[in-house]
Structure formats: structure tokens, C-alpha cells
Amino acid sequence: MNFELTKEQQMIKEMVRDFAENEIKPYAAEWDRTAEFPIETFKKMGELGLFGIPFPEEYGGSGGDTISYAIAVEEIGRACGGVGLSYAAAVSLGASPIYYFGTEEQKQKWLVPMAKGETFGAFGLTEPNAGSDAGGTRTRAVLYGDEYVINGEKCWITNAGYARQVIVTAVTGKDEKGKNIISAIIVPTDTPGFTINCNYDKMGVRASNTCELVLEDVRVPKENLLGDPKKGFKQFLYTLDGGRISIAALSVGIAQAAFEKALKYAKERTQFGQSISKFQAIQFKLADMAMQIELARNMVYKAAWLKDNNKPFTKEASFAKLFASEMGFRVCNQAIQIHGGYGYMKEYEVERHLRDIKLMEIGEGTSEVQRIVIARQLGC
């Protein structure tokens, strides 16, 4: 056992923290208010190599590990939940599936520019009637000659409005038991018939870009099929396992930001002649917050470590995502409580953390779905 970060991991943490403090945090409230996607900031992140952390150098990455990536997500999320979400989605959902399952040609064409931060990619899984219930997928892809013709709708797709391509899951046939076969297909966003609307008015993570996709007779070459045609379902489960580590890391970052504000405020705010941090009622809240954040962070690192060491990590990724998002919600809620009336005002920037963290209990599998995943891993 060794709980110490490596020198590279420490350096990445410091660099990303400095960058996020200077280039993201001062603008987070404004981006939240205007729901602006800060594309220039993402370009700077790209130049620093942040989008390539977990990918090897031969694919434009920097050959870092999942722990380094989780550290980066946490530090960006600590500055802005919305930027953190788009960052995590770009790496875990946009780029990772092509790295895991793509052919060499697909990696060169699609992954390399994403890892270098030159392009965005998105992952189109969720539909109005399907998400974690993949069986409900209605989007269909039919092979005509050398082309797939895709029809369907997707919803709540992160970064699609800025993406060069979206990995779309679609039903491509039925297996011997009559169950739908789901495949993943890379669809360039400039393909005729592919409409992307980004008009959602979200509760939180408002600096993140979220879109609805409509595919009407969208034709793509059959080489754009990603990975095994019959294992689309398994592939996206693996992708989501990785994504859950990043959502857990993001939850830790948002909670850390809320906690730091609450601690600072509690030390400054005076009531009944003393700082409210001297009252046990407030101390106990702060103690619980600090403890839960640290426990969640440890679980994030463990899940990431398992992934880096090629060990099974499905259960641990779910543990991390479920615990971190639920503790994050409690921490952000208590941070407002400690601030009292001021916390309810946007000016104090703590209410944003609660709105941002709420998504973490929903996206990439709700808390309820995480419990199902964990229970299945237990053999239930």
C-alpha cells in the first residue's frame, strides 16, 4: 500500500489547480448565469494537453494514468462544475471508446485530434425512452451496401454542439434469442440529416453544452462501426464504468469547493459574540463534510488504480460514483446551510454548487442504477 501520489501526479494536480484558479474560477459565476460554453478556455486546456492525459503519446496523449485524469477532473470541477462535466465527458465518453474499441485507422482519424484538444467528441447513448435501459433503444441503423442508414433521436448529449463526431448507439439487428443487437457507430456531425439542437435550459452545470440529436436517414460508411458489431452494449457498459470514475472525481471537486467556502465563511461569520466555527453545531457539519469528501476521494483513487492495473473495477467505480455524488449533494446542501440566508443568494456562489452537484446523482446512471450495478456485482 502506498497512499502517496507520484511526483507526476502531484505536478499535474498543482498545474491543473493553478490553471483552474486563474482561468476558470473567476468566470464560473458568469458562465453559470449566461449558460455560455467557454470554448476559448477549452482550447487553452487542450494546449496544455489535458484532453490527452489517459491516452498514450502515439495517439496524441501524454501517457498519464486514470488517477492523474481523476485528479484533473477534480481540480477543474472545484473551479466550475459545468466545465468539469464537459471536460470529463469529452475524455471519458467522447474519446475513450475510440481508444478502447477503435481500429488503428479510427484512432488516427478521430482520437488523435481529440487527445490533442483540437476537436471535441460526444457519446450519444441516452434516448427519450432509453438510457441505462439499453433495451429501450429505438435508434436504428440499417446496412445498405457499404453504408449504415441511421434514424432516431438522442437526448441530453454532452458537448454534441461542439463535437466533430458523435458515437451513436443504434439497434442493428436481433440475436438468436430475439434480443436487440446494439452497435456503436461514429457519425460525423456534418453528415446530412444529422440535426443537433442545444436549447436545454438546465438547473446546473450550465457552462456545459447539452444537446438533443435528431438523425434522419443519416448515411455513414460501414467502416465507421466502432468495435465489435454485436458487443455495442458491453462496450458502452465498459465506457460508462470509466466515466463513473470521472463523475465521482467531479463530485469530489464540487464538494471540495463548497466545503472550502463553508469553512472560510464559518470562521469569518460572527454571531452571539464569536465566530460560528466555534459552535459545535457548525463544527460537526464541517467535520462530516471534510470526512466524507476524503472518503469519496479515496474511493475515486482506488477505482482509478484498479483500472490502471487492469483489474476489475465495475463495482468500485459504482461505489465511487454513488458515494461521491450523494455525499457531494449533502456537502453542498450543508454548505448553504452554514451560510444561512447568504447561502441562498447567488452572490455567495454556494447555491451554484448544489445545482451543479445534483446532476452527479443523475448522469451516467442514476443513484438507483448504481445500486442495481453494485447489487449485481454482489451476485444478487
Partner: protein
């Protein structure tokens, strides 16, 4: 061009400083590259990228400084040297550091040496100029601009907010003031590459120095935190009386008049 950067690892003075048994407690303190040395590193990189050459970043300290040296390598320096004095030197001051650095540099034929204007911990601003004196080369402190044309060097120096323009020549030592440049963030590929760049560790022995040669010339008597800022006093009453009271307080309480 043969470029050297003198770098110090310091605790982050923006974090809370705790004093224990007459020394700054290092437990839980955040350590960083001295911010003024970051300007020096950035300037060195820009000079090298424009004129070619190699940058060696040097520090005197203990093995903990490896992380800061690696960060300098990640920013773009080519080589790092750690002069580890942990086992050899008990008490050190600016003289100690300058003597060691000068001894290391004397046979390296440096064209340009860059350092921070001051370190944010000790804040003496002594090491750079002392090294230049020991090496017998010119130096310019608190610079905000550096132009090199052949061996002719034009430097803009910050003088309490005014500017002084100085022409000088290589070899030269300069110390960096805020405003010289905007230090870059180490990039991810930079961080990963830094692992493979050479980092040499030396001790006093390797420089043919004895502990006596570098013995501190100063003695630290006491270390204490600045007094806690008290709330101000607001005088009441007629203006004439307030002025009288103020004058009397300046005499008796503040004792500044």
C-alpha cells in the same frame, strides 16, 4: 547559449504559516517554486527558444526540492541540478547558498544566469547579486525586460515603479521582477517528459567544499509571526477635540511622535 536558472523551493506564503519551536512548521505547508524564480525560468525558456542553447536549473536544498526541479523541467528547462546540503550544513544563510552556487558555476562558463528578485520566504534578495560578485560578472536586479543582441544586452530595470534602461554585456546575471513575463503552465506532455530529463544530485564534496567554507555569516535569533491586526479606533466628538486626542494618542499610545 549556456543559460542557468537559480531556483528556490519555498513554502507558499499565501497558505497559513505555523511556527513551532522557533521554526516555520513544514508539516502541512504547501511548497512551491519561488514565484520570482518562475519569471526567471520563463525568461530563460524564451531566451533559449529565440537564441538557442541549453538551460540548467540549479537549486541548493534537500531532496524534497526534486519536485520543484521537475516542475521547472516540465516547463521547459533542459537539465536540473540539485545541490543537496541536508547532511552537510546545519545553519545556512544567503552567504552559504551564494558560495555553493558560485563554486558550482565557476567552471561552467555561463553566458546568462537568471534568478528571482527575492524569495518570498526570506525576502533578502541577496543570493543573485552575491553569486555574480563571486563569479566576477555584471548583474542587474529587478528586471522587467531583457533583450539580447549578440553579446550586447539591453535591460529594463524596475526602480520603485520607475524604469531604468541599462546596456550591458554577456556573461551576465539578472534577477527577475514581476512583469518580466507571464510564466507558462507546465503542459501535460512537459510533465511526462520531465521524468526523463537529467537531474544531477551533488553534495558539498563534489564541489570540493568543506562545511567551514560555507558557514553562515548571520545568525537567526528569533522567528515570530507579525502581530495580529487590531481593530481600528474611531475618535468621537468635536473635530478640534478629536485632533487633540489623536496627537496625544500618537505620543502616548502609538509612541510614533
Amino acid at each position: 547559449m549556456n543559460i542557468f536558472v537559480l531556483m528556490k523551493r519555498t513554502f507558499d506564503t499565501e497558505e497559513k504559516i505555523v511556527i513551532n519551536n522557533g521554526a516555520v512548521s513544514e508539516d502541512g505547508a504547501e511548497f512551491i517554486i519561488n514565484p520570482y524564480d518562475e519569471y526567471a525560468i520563463e525568461e530563460a525558456i524564451q531566451v533559449r527558444d529565440k537564441h538557442g542553447g541549453e538551460i540548467t536549473v540549479v537549486t541548493v536544498g534537500n531532496e524534497e526540492a526534486e519536485k520543484e526541479l521537475r516542475t521547472a523541467l516540465a516547463m521547459g528547462c533542459d537539465k536540473a541540478v540539485l545541490i543537496n546540503i541536508e547532511d552537510d550544513v546545519e545553519e545556512s544563510d544567503q552567504y552559504t547558498t551564494a558560495k555553493i552556487l558560485a563554486e558550482y558555476l565557476k567552471d561552467k562558463n555561463p553566458d546568462l544566469i537568471l534568478a528571482g528578485n527575492v524569495a518570498i520566504d526570506g525576502g533578502s534578495g541577496q543570493v543573485g547579486p552575491r553569486v555574480a560578485e563571486l563569479l566576477g560578472i555584471p548583474y542587474v536586479t529587478t528586471i522587467t525586460k531583457l533583450d539580447i543582441d549578440g553579446s550586447k544586452v539591453t535591460v529594463v530595470r524596475d526602480v520603485e515603479g520607475d524604469e531604468e534602461i541599462i546596456e550591458t554585456s554577456l556573461p551576465l546575471l539578472v534577477t527577475a521582477q514581476q512583469g518580466l513575463n507571464e510564466p507558462r503552465y507546465p503542459s501535460l506532455p512537459g510533465i511526462m517528459k520531465a521524468k526523463k530529463k537529467p537531474l544531477e544530485e551533488l553534495e558539498l564534496d563534489d564541489l570540493d567544499l568543506e562545511e567551514d567554507d560555507v558557514e553562515a555569516k548571520t545568525k537567526t535569533i528569533e522567528i515570530f509571526l507579525p502581530p495580529k491586526k487590531e481593530a481600528g479606533k474611531i475618535l468621537q466628538g468635536e473635530l478640534v477635540d478629536q485632533v487633540k486626542e489623536l496627537v496625544s494618542l500618537l505620543h502616548t499610545e502609538a509612541k510614533v511622535v
